[in-house]
C-alpha cells in the first residue's frame, strides 16, 4: 500500500477496500464493522432494557493542527460526541465516523489518528460501528476532517434540560477553564507563545454517571466547548429565563492560561474547553456533589462558581474580585487577540 493517501483510496475500488480493512476495521475491531455491511444494526429490545429514550447527536472536527499537547483530532472526534450524549444524561453506546481526507496525507498520520480514536472509544466504553471515507483533491480540505455521530440511551427519570434551572440552584464546573484554547494557540505557533498547557480533552460520560448517582435531579448540564463558560451560562440563562450569578474569585484558571490571556488581551471566560461541563443543580445537593466530583479523575478541581437568581435580569452577571458586578454577554464573533 502506498505510504500516502491518493484519490484511489476514495474511489471505491481495491485501494479503498484495503485501506478500510487495514486501517479502520482492524483498529476499531468490533463485530458490527467486520460484517462490512453498509450499516450497523441493533436489537431494540436490548436497548430498551437500558432506558426508555434514545439520544442521538453529531459533530464535525476540523482542528488545526491535527496534533496538539494533550490530544489530537481523533481523540477530539470521539470525546466531543461522547460528551454531547453524556450532557443529556445518556449512556453513550455506538459511534459512526466519516473521514474527508486531502490527497497526500501520509497514511501513518491517518493510522495515528485512528489509533487515538479507538483508545478514546475504549476509555469511554463506546464502539465505532460504521463509517465512510472520501478523498478530495489537494487544497480542497485542510489535511483531514472528521465527522462523528453517536447514539446513547437515557435512563428512566433523568430529565436534564437547558430550561431546567431554578432560582437558588448552584452552578458547578468540573475543573480549570481555557486549557484547550491555550493549548491550541501554543500548538498553532503563529503567535509564537510557548507554554506547557495541555488540552483538557477527555470523555465525561463516566463523570456524569457518577454525578447522577449522587444527584439524580441535575437541572442543566452542558459542555463548555467553543465560546467557553460564558456562552453556556448565557444559553442556560436564556432558556431558563433567569440570572446566572458567578463569582470571579471562584473560577479555577491556571496561571499559565491567565498569563497567555494577559499577553493577548483575551478573556478566559470565552476560551474553548474540551473536557469541561457546567452543571446547574439544587443547592441542597451541591456540596455532596462537589465532593463526589473531586474524587473523580475528570473532576478533581470541581468548584461551585455561583448560583441562579431571578433578578435583576435575564443573563449572566459576574461579581468581580472588586465586589462590583459586570454583565458577561455572548461574543458576536470569535475572540481575537488585541493590542489595545
Amino acid at each position: 500500500m502506498s505510504d500516502v493517501i491518493t484519490l484511489a483510496h476514495g474511489s471505491g475500488g481495491k485501494a479503498m477496500e484495503e485501506l478500510i480493512r487495514t486501517v479502520f476495521v482492524s483498529t476499531f475491531d468490533n463485530s458490527e464493522l467486520t460484517n462490512m455491511e453498509d450499516q450497523a444494526r441493533f436489537d431494540l429490545a436490548e436497548l430498551q432494557q437500558q432506558g426508555h429514550r434514545l439520544a442521538f447527536t453529531t459533530d464535525s472536527y476540523v482542528v488545526d493542527p491535527l496534533f496538539f499537547p494533550g490530544g489530537d483530532i481523533g481523540k477530539l472526534a470521539v470525546t466531543g460526541t461522547v460528551n454531547d450524549l453524556a450532557m443529556g444524561g445518556a449512556k453513550p453506546l455506538y459511534l459512526s465516523c466519516a473521514f474527508i481526507i486531502e490527497e497526500g496525507l501520509p497514511i501513518d498520520t491517518l493510522k495515528k489518528v485512528v489509533r487515538s480514536m479507538q483508545d478514546t472509544a475504549r476509555e469511554a466504553g463506546v464502539s465505532i460501528v460504521t463509517g465512510d471515507t472520501k478523498v478530495v483533491h489537494k487544497g480542497s480540505c485542510d489535511k483531514l476532517f472528521i465527522n462523528t455521530a453517536g447514539v446513547g440511551v437515557i435512563a428512566e427519570g433523568v430529565n436534564i434540560r437547558a430550561q431546567g434551572a431554578q432560582v437558588g440552584d448552584a452552578i458547578i464546573i468540573n475543573g480549570y477553564l481555557g486549557d484547550h484554547g491555550a493549548a491550541i494557540v501554543d500548538a498553532r505557533g503563529d503567535l509564537a507563545l510557548q507554554n506547557s498547557i495541555e488540552s483538557d480533552c477527555q470523555p465525561l460520560n463516566d463523570l456524569v454517571q457518577t454525578m447522577l448517582a449522587v444527584c439524580p435531579d441535575i437541572h442543566c448540564l452542558r459542555d463548555a466547548t467553543r465560546g467557553g463558560l460564558a456562552t453556556v451560562l448565557n444559553e442556560f440563562a436564556q432558556a431558563s429565563d433567569c440570572c446566572m450569578q458567578v463569582d470571579e474569585t471562584k473560577l479555577p484558571i491556571r496561571s499559565e492560561v491567565r498569563g497567555m490571556c494577559e499577553i493577548l488581551g483575551l478573556d478566559p471566560l470565552y476560551l474553548a474547553n474540551e473536557g469541561k461541563l457546567v452543571a446547574v443543580v439544587p443547592s441542597a445537593a451541591a456540596d455532596q456533589l462537589i465532593q463526589t466530583m473531586q474524587n473523580h479523575s475528570a473532576g478533581c478541581h470541581s468548584a461551585i462558581i455561583g448560583h441562579v437568581t431571578a433578578t435583576p435580569k435575564r443573563g449572566v452577571l459576574m461579581t468581580t474580585g472588586f465586589g462590583s458586578q459586570r454583565i458577561v454577554d455572548r461574543l458576536v464573533g470569535e475572540q481575537l487577540p488585541r493590542i489595545c
Binding site: 509564537a192 507563545l193 510557548q194 507554554n195 499559565e256 498569563g259 494577559e262 499577553i263 493590542i339 489595545c340
Partner: protein
C-alpha cells in the same frame, strides 16, 4: 492605549538582533529588547530583569522600588482610612476594645 504586560527576561536568544526569552506567568515568548538595553551593559546582565512587553517588544523596565513605593502609599491610605472611620464612629483610640 496599548496592552502591556510585565514579564521576566529568562534568557538571551539572539544577541545580534537583540532578542530574549521573556516569561509571563509560565508562558514564554521571544521579544526584542533594544528599547531596554544600554550600550555599555552586556545582554546577559539583563537576565532576571522585569520588563513591560508590548507587541513583542520589551518597552520599559519595571522599577521595583517605584512599585513598592506605590503599594506602600496605597497601604498607608488604608490605615489612614481606618483611623478616619473610627473617628467618624466616635470611637477614640483609648476606648477601642482590646
Amino acid at each position: 492605549m496599548c496592552l502591556g504586560i510585565p514579564g521576566q527576561i529568562v534568557s538571551i536568544s539572539d544577541e545580534v538582533n537583540h532578542m530574549a526569552m521573556v516569561d509571563v506567568s509560565g508562558v514564554q515568548r521571544e521579544v526584542n529588547i533594544m528599547c531596554v538595553v544600554e550600550a555599555d551593559k552586556a545582554p546577559e546582565d539583563y537576565i532576571g530583569e522585569w520588563v513591560l512587553v508590548h507587541v513583542g517588544f520589551a518597552m520599559s523596565h519595571l522599577d521595583e522600588e517605584e512599585a513598592q513605593r506605590t503599594l506602600a502609599l496605597l497601604a498607608e491610605l488604608g490605615e489612614f482610612q481606618e483611623e478616619l472611620d473610627q473617628m467618624q464612629q466616635g470611637v477614640t483610640a483609648e476606648e477601642q476594645p482590646l
